[in-house]
């Protein structure tokens, strides 16, 4: 059996590793000159920045991505974040995430316990947003800010733009899989390890190869057209999102196309800064609910110093893009950093923004359409087809697992 994979991002590589391990002949085509997509390292001034995602795996060594990596035999070390995460409160103090209840009144604290326990068991069926859900039960300024900070950091969305049931699924997963971790060597170590697995299983990965067409015969994929030739395949897996995939063949399923039209990509801004001294001093995420724009920050060099030149720290902040005025959004983010680290000296290494055709997530949480397409043996994986309650790359891994359950 032959599988052709379009795109060597995380979803494509995880699928390639899994299928090649199962005995498929795997051939991957990537249009960029490098593998890893928005989950690999980007070297700049001796620092290991990243093409997209931060160097952090949301559920660490016990999450879906880690278990899939282990399953396919990709050797990646994930260092658990310690503490898991920290919140900078209104007074400017950093409190452990588990102590967030201390920031609200005793009455609300008690109510939170019962409401959360009930809602985790019986998730809201309607489309109530996480913001409205928090408002409905608590009407609390701190909790609303924390909701925005959490959704912004983990999904690059405002709490008002995520269904409450999706966030509750994520909270469920946090109890199930626990907190984040830093992959030793950064995101690039993960995708590089997957490339090694695929090659050692006899698979081929072509870079700078842009697939021009998916060949469909009688509702079945027969192969693809790439670099001026036809490559036949028993199945095709696309890692470029549903919408981009439909541009490669004639898709006339109106219901499917209408559903895709509703999937909204999420946008965000990452600011990478360098400092001689540690600004956070730990390897967890710092949530910043009282910042104007920044949702959270991490300092990965506390877990893996090799991500920066000797003696330097690498700090990355993430914020949801709230308006179309990108320059102003970035300026507010830079302003936040000054307020969060008063009197500290640091250098802004790079400002990176993501939207539209190169977004944070192709289908924002809650607007995913699954792995299937109208064509039987054509599947979509990646951040355009995540699994339920999966944060970022964990969602990519859950989506790949779902697709593989159907295929294998």
């Amino acid at each position: 059996m032959k599988a052709v994979i379009i795109g060597a991002g995380l979803g494509g590589l995880l699928s390639g590793a899994k299928l090649s391990k199962a005995g498929y002949e795997v051939e991957i085509f990537e249009r960029l000159p490098f593998t890893g997509g928005r989950f690999t390292n980007l070297e700049h001034k001796g620092f290991q920045l990243s093409t997209g995602a931060l160097h952090m795996i949301p559920h660490g060594a016990r999450g879906p991505l880690a278990s899939l990596l282990c399953d396919v035999g990709a050797g990646v070390t994930i260092i658990p974040s310690e503490p898991m995460s920290v919140i900078r409160n209104m007074a400017g103090e950093d409190i452990d995430f588990h102590d967030f209840r201390k920031e609200i009144s005793l009455t609300k604290r008690v109510k939170l316990g019962t409401v959360l326990a009930y809602s985790l068991k019986f998730k809201p069926k309607d489309d109530i947003s996480f913001r409205d859900w928090v408002m409905k039960y608590f009407e609390d300024e701190f909790l609303l800010r924390l909701a925005d900070s959490f959704c912004g950091w983990s999904l690059s969305l405002r709490a008002a733009d995520v269904p409450a049931r999706e966030v509750l699924e994520i909270i469920d997963n946090m109890y199930r899989y626990k907190g984040p971790g830093i992959p030793l060597g950064g995101c690039g170590a993960v995708t590089d390890a997957l490339c090694d697995v695929i090659r050692s299983n006899g698979g081929n990965i072509h870079t700078s190869s842009s697939v021009e067409r998916i060949l469909v015969d009688n509702g079945r994929v027969s192969g693809i057209f790439v670099d001026g030739k036809e490559v036949s395949a028993d199945i095709v897996i696309s890692n470029i999102g549903h919408m981009e995939t439909t541009k490669l063949y004639k898709c006339s399923d109106e219901d499917y196309l209408a559903k895709l039209g509703k999937a909204k990509p999420s946008r965000g801004i990452k600011i990478c800064i360098a400092s001689d001294e540690a600004l956070l001093g730990h390897s967890g995420a710092l949530f910043t609910p009282y910042a104007q724009r920044i949702n959270g920050i991490n300092e990965v060099t506390n877990a893996d110093p090799s991500l920066a030149p000797a003696g330097k720290h690498l700090i990355m902040s993430h914020q949801t893009t709230l308006s179309d005025n990108l320059e102003q959004e970035i300026a507010l983010g830079l302003d936040d950093l000054k307020t969060l680290f008063p009197g500290k000296e640091y250098e802004v290494l790079m400002v990176q923004s993501y939207s539209g055709g190169w977004p944070v997530n192709r289908a924002s949480s809650g607007s995913d359409t699954g792995n299937r397409t109208p064509v039987g043996n054509l599947y979509v994986v990646g951040d355009g087809a995540k699994g339920k309650g999966g944060i970022e790359v964990e969602g990519v891994a859950l989506g790949v697992m779902n697709a593989m359950r159907e295929i294998l």
Partner: protein, 53 residues
């Protein structure tokens, strides 16, 4: 080199530019260091950079 409206500001071009000729702040802008080597064209995920014709 020219940057078109497809640019979202991911800065991949800037990191791969061998001449330190690209700065990014919401979108890429190309400065005088550019020698038209076209390295950036291949590294842009959105086909947002093209040569001056």
């Amino acid at each position: 080199m020219k940057v078109n409206q497809n640019c979202v500001g991911c800065a991949q071009c800037a990191a791969y530019c061998p001449h330190n000729a690209i700065t990014v702040f919401g979108r890429a802008s190309i400065n005088r260091n550019c020698v038209e080597c076209k390295t950036c064209v291949d590294y842009c995920p959105l086909g947002a950079i093209s040569g001056d014709e």
